[in-house]
Symmetry: C2
Subunit: 339 residues, 2 copies
């Protein structure tokens, strides 16, 4: 079935898309349906992050199901809120779409958005829905809360701090390479079904990433406040550069300390790529990179999925990578270049 969005009209469409979203957070005073949403903050700081995803740049609907896209679009924003050591409470979702998208297609997208809202306990409180001459653009703003004294910025790393990572890196990037390859094969031979069965992990990391909510909850439980934190969206190297630049420090990263999933390592070799390069520059894993005071090492030592991958140095020592072979290189931040 294909219902043209024109049959609903703008307000009808907004109502249709958002009526299944309940407000669950006590701080969500007013959601969709007025000029603005209202959030009661009490004694907390409000934390706001926004991301724009553009079809053809950030996602390819040839292999990204709309439901996954909706889920991922929310998760990447929540990841930014967690990276402040804060908890997301509300989101607004704006979309611009061409008339090639039916109401059913938007329902799929919003089903994914709803699944993410439910999984992370956030409320959809507003947004905008408009037409576009071409393609799809999704802009999400996430709003979170944090006690002021627990907020963790990128600029707090100090010399001697330990560099920690919350999980394995590189798989999301390799999942994308795999999807791109299968898309090309499929375009050349539409009869051939893509074979992705044995790479479920990497594909999952690309199509359905998760944000590190439970890690922030754990920090609260063990009484840990990182000295600095950032989420790994553009690749570990790029994020280390952000931390070092804003904290005015250098860093030593141990290649042997960078966690990788065995499937990602194998996949890298299949693609004739250096696994460490994938982990350093791959991006989209949405793990957290953070630094801790060495006095806090006992708090993270026995926690699952926290890896110590290096140390903060003085700014004049630069940003270095100690390879598995024992060579010391200058780290390069490739990241993603969209322009």
């Amino acid at each position: 079935m294909r219902t043209d969005v024109n049959t609903l009209g703008e307000f009808g469409l907004i109502e249709h898309l958002t009526r299944a979203f309940p407000l669950n957070n006590p701080s969500s005073v007013k959601g969709v349906g007025d000029d603005a949403a209202v959030i009661d903050n009490g004694p907390f700081c409000t934390v706001v992050s926004t991301d724009m995803l553009v079809e053809g740049i950030h996602f390819d609907l040839a292999y990204m199901p709309l439901k996954h896209l909706g889920y991922k679009a929310v998760v990447v924003n929540l990841s930014d809120i967690y990276a402040m050591n804060a908890f997301p409470r509300q989101i607004t979702v704006s979309i611009a779409i061409s008339n090639r998208f039916s109401v059913e297609a938007l329902d799929e997208l919003y089903a994914g958005i709803r699944a993410a809202c439910e999984a992370y306990g956030v409320d959809l409180v507003g947004g905008d829905t408009t037409s576009a001459p071409k393609g799809m653009v999704i802009s999400i703003t996430a709003i979170g809360q944090c006690e002021k004294e627990l907020l963790t910025y990128r600029n707090g790393a100090r010399v001697g701090d330990l560099i920690c990572i919350t999980g394995d890196l590189g798989a999301a990037y390799l999942g994308l390479q795999l999807l791109e390859r299968e898309k090309q094969i499929w375009q050349e031979n539409p009869g051939i079904q893509p074979d992705l069965e044995d790479q479920k992990y990497a594909i999952g990391r690309q199509l359905k990433p998760e944000a590190r909510r439970e890690m922030i909850e754990t920090f609260r439980k063990v009484g840990l406040k990182p000295t600095s934190m950032i989420d790994i969206s553009d690749g570990l190297a790029s994020e280390i550069f952000h931390i070092c630049k804003q904290s005015r420090v250098g860093a030593l990263v141990e290649e042997s300390g960078i966690p990788m999933h065995p499937e990602a390592e194998l996949l890298a070799l299949k693609f004739k790529l250096d696994p460490a390069t994938c982990a350093l520059n791959g991006g989209e894993d949405y793990e957290l990179l953070f630094t801790i005071d060495p006095a806090d090492v006992e708090k993270v030592k026995y926690l699952p999925e926290i890896y110590i991958a290096g140390e903060i140095l003085d700014a004049k020592d630069g940003i270095k990578l100690n390879t598995k072979g024992g060579n010391l290189h200058d780290l390069k931040a490739q990241g993603w270049v969209h322009f």
Copy 2:
């Protein structure tokens, strides 16, 4: 001069575009440059509104200078915050642009954004900058503050309340008609310079609208709390329908009570349009429509630029327009249909 955005890179571009934006509000704890912005709310409610503007749908760069576009994009969002009886404090700005836009073009856009930030006392605290295969999309989220007991929703109008409007309507729509006509003439005869000199008011209302900040300040001063409020972005008729639907009431609108600027009335006649229809369905004037308890009439009676244009009725009486000729019609909400 035309600097390709590629020469700056994504982070360089963000820095370039946002470094001239100071944080002036005490509540703006952290602005651009981390995973998220941080807002200290104290005892206030946070109010959030978001709007997406798409080239070819919401704006036409053939006659909309980029600086004006930046200004207007901010103002339309602030207008939503004022319509909650709240004061905007922060905005985030996300843009997706094709490579046809140079750094200088973006500087123009951001100069307009900055001018609006300065005029309304709001801080730019975040955003996203990305490429698009085509055109330009701007998504702005505005964040405001309000004492909880002063928040004014769309659903508070009661039978007997007076319907008020803060200024004249229809001019922005007629300004758009004029610009569209001149664009067509220019496209057919590129030698002819557009002649807009004697329609400065309507053009200004379209290209550089303002939000009704001083009206909300006046409400505070005279101790007035409207029972309901909405900003007039889609046209008076459409907004009255929103108020009536959410408040479960009807309304009687007096055509003679709808304020119009003399230039707009003349322009309507030139275009062979009914002036009242332009005022009712034109939109983009960003005036406020609000209802007040009749006991509060003394508070607004002598205020400049507040017009009483009707009365709230019981829902069963419907939504009526009493024309200048003395006929009673059902009001129709045309609004804007983008899809």
